[in-house]
Each structure stands twice: as structure tokens, then as C-alpha cells.
């Protein structure tokens, strides 16, 4: 397996506040990695640092064999790293199809096209000329995922894609992950829903207060290990 992403000691600050205290993470091609952790653990900040929305100049971030630390976000995107931002962030004045087409503006070649996105999310076909924001939450999330895939990324980062959605919809959306992987795109999901993360991921990182508190394969982690890493508490024995 080839190494797709590697960070060493990644830090991030918001003014005087330090949000990340040295994150080491690796993702190999073909993996689905999940980051779990409570609110404020630094999960979203970590994704923003990877995509270039947070400054990382001078740090160690390797993507697909080259350093991307400090590159502007649009350059990182063109190297094949796409993000489904938290809260979907569809463009309200664009139709569903235009939102998808914007994702392809970088011009990367690959298996994803309007047709393959519509195959992945058939619900979107009937809505393609609607404004992106006139859809249900789940459908909006499908557009946001499709928009990221349209750039034919090597790695797609999904930030809290289950937030605010009904369990059935979440299941529908997560059903797409194996198909995304089958098309050669690795996936990094950030999840507050631990069960969902363990079900979908090949490896899990747990963040707590800006540090990696636990990592391993879902099968190797016990509930109490996760609870401790998630909340920083030792689970009571009764």
C-alpha cells in the first residue's frame, strides 16, 4: 500500500489559543479512516489544516509524495485532496448540477462525472435544476459529497456528514462510502457518532483536546478504551 497522507507533529493556533498539539497521522491509499472525538477536540481544525484553510507553512504535511504544508487551498485541491465541509456549504445561487460542476473546475481526470455521481445518488437526478439549498438535508449532503468527488480526488475529507440528519438518511449516505473507495478514492471521515465511525472505518483516530488520544482498527479497540480516549474519563466499573 502506498502512503497517501502523513502529518508529523501538526499544530494549529487561533490567535493565542492552540487547537492542535502535534498530530501524527498516516493514511494509506485505499483506506477509510475515521476521526472521532467530542466537540472542540480539534477534528475540524485538523481537516482545515490539511486542506490549506488553516496555515501550516513550515510544518510536515506530506500528500501523495510531496509536501503540501503552506500551499494555498486551491493548489492542494488540484493535487487531489477534496473536502466536504461541515454544514455542507452549498452555493445557494447555484443549481444542484451547477454545484456539482463547480467541483470539477480544477479539471482533474478520473472516474467521477455527473453521470457517476447521479448513479451514486439517484435521488439527485430529479432535483438537478433546483437550487442546491432547496433540497432536504440528506440530499444537500449528497450534493456536497458529489461536489467533492467531482474533482476526482485521491482523498476526500468528510467533516461531520451525519450532523443533523435522520438515522435512515445517515445510513443511505454511508452506503456510498464503499463505492467511493471502489473508485480509488480514499476517505477520511470526521464523526461524532462513534458507532457509525467504527462501522465504516478501517482505522480510527480518537482526538481529545488537540491530541491523538487513541488509534487502532475498530476490531482492536474496546468500548472502555474509546470512552476513556473520547471523554478523558476512566469508565466506572459498575
Amino acid at each position: 500500500m502506498t502512503r497517501l497522507l502523513e502529518t508529523q507533529g501538526l499544530t494549529a493556533h487561533y490567535g493565542d489559543f492552540q487547537a492542535l498539539f502535534g498530530i501524527d497521522m498516516t493514511i494509506d491509499a485505499g483506506e477509510t479512516v475515521a476521526i472521532i472525538g467530542s466537540n472542540g477536540a480539534g477534528k475540524s481544525t485538523f481537516l482545515r489544516a490539511l486542506t490549506g484553510l488553516r496555515p501550516t507553512a513550515g510544518q510536515s504535511v506530506q500528500f501523495d509524495g510531496q509536501s503540501i504544508a503552506g500551499l494555498p487551498a486551491y493548489r492542494i485541491h488540484k493535487l487531489g485532496l477534496a473536502m466536504v465541509p461541515e454544514g455542507r456549504r452549498l452555493f445557494p445561487s447555484l443549481t444542484v448540477e451547477e454545484n456539482l460542476l463547480i467541483g470539477a473546475a480544477g479539471g482533474r481526470k478520473g472516474p467521477w462525472s455527473l453521470k457517476s455521481i447521479y448513479d451514486l445518488f439517484p435521488d439527485l437526478v430529479a432535483k438537478k435544476h433546483n437550487p442546491g439549498t432547496a433540497l432536504s438535508g440528506g440530499q444537500q449532503q449528497m450534493v456536497a459529497i458529489g461536489r467533492a468527488l467531482m474533482s476526482n480526488p485521491k482523498l476526500v475529507l468528510c467533516d461531520e456528514i451525519s450532523l443533523g440528519l435522520a438515522p435512515k438518511i445517515i445510513k443511505d449516505i454511508y452506503q456510498a462510502v464503499p463505492q467511493i473507495r471502489a473508485n480509488g478514492t480514499s476517505v477520511l471521515v470526521v464523526e461524532q457518532d462513534v458507532g457509525q465511525a467504527l462501522a465504516v472505518a478501517t482505522r480510527v483516530y480518537c482526538f481529545m483536546e488537540g491530541r491523538v488520544s487513541l488509534t487502532g482498527t475498530p476490531a482492536s479497540l474496546t468500548r472502555s478504551q474509546i470512552a476513556q480516549a473520547y471523554f478523558g474519563l476512566t469508565e466506572e466499573a459498575h
Binding site: T51, L53, A73, Y74, H77, A82, F91, L94, A105
Partner: protein, 288 residues
């Protein structure tokens, strides 16, 4: 009949105001900032065409092409190297910088061209007219000016809603923070938007030169008319800008028909009235 004539002339004059306003509308639409030097850039376009065609004796077609290329290139560079540096959450810095540019441009023009009022003679175009009925005729020049305005607005509408560039411009207008995650370079998109707007400013400047007298201090009044047309029509609606220009033009010519001294005042009064009645403009934001 004089009233019908006044309205008709006002509609045609509105074409000029729509041309003034179109570039302003585009820049505000994409970047959410107001270029205070907009009117002065229009006047620069007017002096450029005057220089090329009268002083240098170039063929008018080549002169027009040169003005458009120069304006678009200057707009691109100005955005890329000056205005992009001051764009941000705070709306004040770009206003201050363009205010400064306005003063620099006015004084630069004064130095180069003196304070004399100038006009670009257009030969037989000035006296030709099209007879609509026995009693109403429209001048060829205002008529062509109006056609230009409609053409420019239609072209802008097409670019905005039917092209990949327009898609990116609208996306940037919606949410500039997310656009880089789609591979868009905001600095470059803004520069392209300003280049397009400056192209339209060049067209407006050429028509200003042919239609009216102008001098180095003529910019701020053009900016005011442009503002009024954009606000009347509704921010973010391109056809609304044409409508706004027409309403302003008609208000002025009808006002002038009542009393020649009321021309400018009538335009401002109608603007104020509409601001009270329809503060969001006549047409809604975003029409597909």
C-alpha cells in the same frame, strides 16, 4: 407629444446610465465592495478614446479595441496587485483605497488634459435620426447607445448564468471561503471579475465621450448615477440595472420637460422615493 418624446429620450438616456452602472453592479455582486473610483475610470475611458481617435488619429475601430483592451488589463492588474490586498471582512479599507484612487485619477487627468470640457465628435451620427412616427424621431446616437446597453447587459447575463466562468463568479459571490476547496483561486477570480467590469467601464467611457461633454471632474456624478441605477433596479440583478438606468433617465428627461433646471433633481427625487417604497430594489436578487 412632447411628453412621449421626453419619456422616449429618457429611456435611451437610461441606456447610458445602465452602462455606467453595469460594471459597478458586477464588482459589487462578486466581491461585495463598492469602487468609489468607478466614475473616474469611466472618464479615463472617455479620455483614452479621445486621445486615440482625435490626438493620434487612429481608426475609430482600432481606438475602441485599444480602449477595451487597456481598460480590462488595467482592471485585472489593479485588482490583483492593489484591491485584493485590502479586501476582507472590513468594508472600509477598499472604500478608502478606491477613494484615494479617485483623487489620483482626477488630478492626473487634470494635469494631462487640463480642466477644459471635451467631447468626442461623431460626425454624421450626431445629426442622423430615425423617424418612428410623423412627430417622433430618435437620434441615431442615443438609439445605438441604448442598443449597446441592452447588448452589454444581455452579454453579462449570459456570462453570469450560462458559462463556467459565471458559475465560478456566482459561487465566489455566495461563499468565497469555500471556493478554494473547489480549486478556485479567489485572487484570480476577483481579478477576472474586475477585468470584465473594467471592459464594461471602457464601453461606458466611450459612450460618455460621444454623448456628453466631460472633464476630469466628471467622474463622481457618473458614480452617483451608477449607484442610483443599481439600487433602483435591485442589487445583484443584472436586468434590474438596465431597468434602474431607464427609470433614472426617464425621471431626468421628464423633469427637464417640466423645467430645464429640474433634470438632475428629478432623477434624485425619484431615486429617493423608490428607496423609501422599495428599499431592496424593483427586481429581486438572482434571476435565472
Amino acid at each position: 407629444m412632447v411628453w412621449i418624446n421626453a419619456v422616449l429620450q429618457g429611456v435611451l438616456l437610461g441606456g447610458l446610465y445602465a452602462l455606467f452602472a453595469a460594471g459597478l453592479s458586477l464588482m459589487f455582486g462578486v466581491m461585495r465592495f463598492v469602487n468609489i473610483a468607478h466614475g473616474d475610470f469611466i472618464v479615463v475611458g472617455a479620455y483614452l478614446i479621445l486621445t486615440f481617435v482625435i490626438s493620434w488619429g487612429l481608426n475609430p475601430i482600432i481606438g475602441v479595441a485599444l480602449v477595451l483592451i487597456l481598460m480590462a488589463a488595467a482592471g485585472y492588474l489593479n485588482q490583483r496587485f492593489v484591491l485584493n490586498r485590502v479586501l476582507g471582512k472590513d468594508i472600509l479599507p477598499p472604500i478608502l483605497v478606491t477613494f484615494g484612487l479617485s483623487i489620483i485619477v482626477q488630478n492626473g487627468l487634470l494635469e494631462l488634459f487640463s480642466a477644459d470640457s471635451r467631447k468626442l465628435p461623431t460626425g454624421t451620427w450626431e445629426t442622423s435620426s430615425l423617424a418612428l412616427t410623423d412627430q417622433i424621431a430618435v437620434g441615431l446616437l442615443p438609439f445605438l447607445m441604448f442598443l449597446t446597453a441592452v447588448g452589454v447587459i444581455a452579454a453579462m447575463q449570459f456570462v453570469f448564468y450560462r458559462s463556467a466562468l459565471g458559475r465560478m463568479l456566482r459561487a465566489t459571490s455566495d461563499d468565497p471561503e469555500i471556493v478554494p476547496l473547489m480549486g478556485g483561486n479567489n485572487a484570480r477570480i476577483f481579478a477576472i471579475a474586475t477585468a470584465l467590469a473594467s471592459l464594461v467601464v471602457g464601453i461606458a467611457g466611450i459612450w460618455l465621450a460621444m454623448k456628453t461633454n466631460f472633464d476630469p471632474a466628471a467622474g463622481p456624478a457618473r458614480l452617483l448615477f451608477a449607484f442610483e441605477a443599481v439600487i433602483i433596479g435591485g442589487l445583484g440583478n443584472i436586468w434590474g440595472t438596465l431597468l434602474g438606468g431607464i427609470i433614472l433617465g426617464v425621471a431626468q428627461t421628464v423633469g427637464a420637460q417640466i423645467d430645464a433646471g429640474y433634470q438632475i433633481l428629478a432623477g434624485h427625487l425619484v431615486f429617493l422615493l423608490l428607496l423609501v417604497l422599495r428599499p431592496k430594489g424593483l427586481l429581486p436578487k438572482v434571476s435565472h
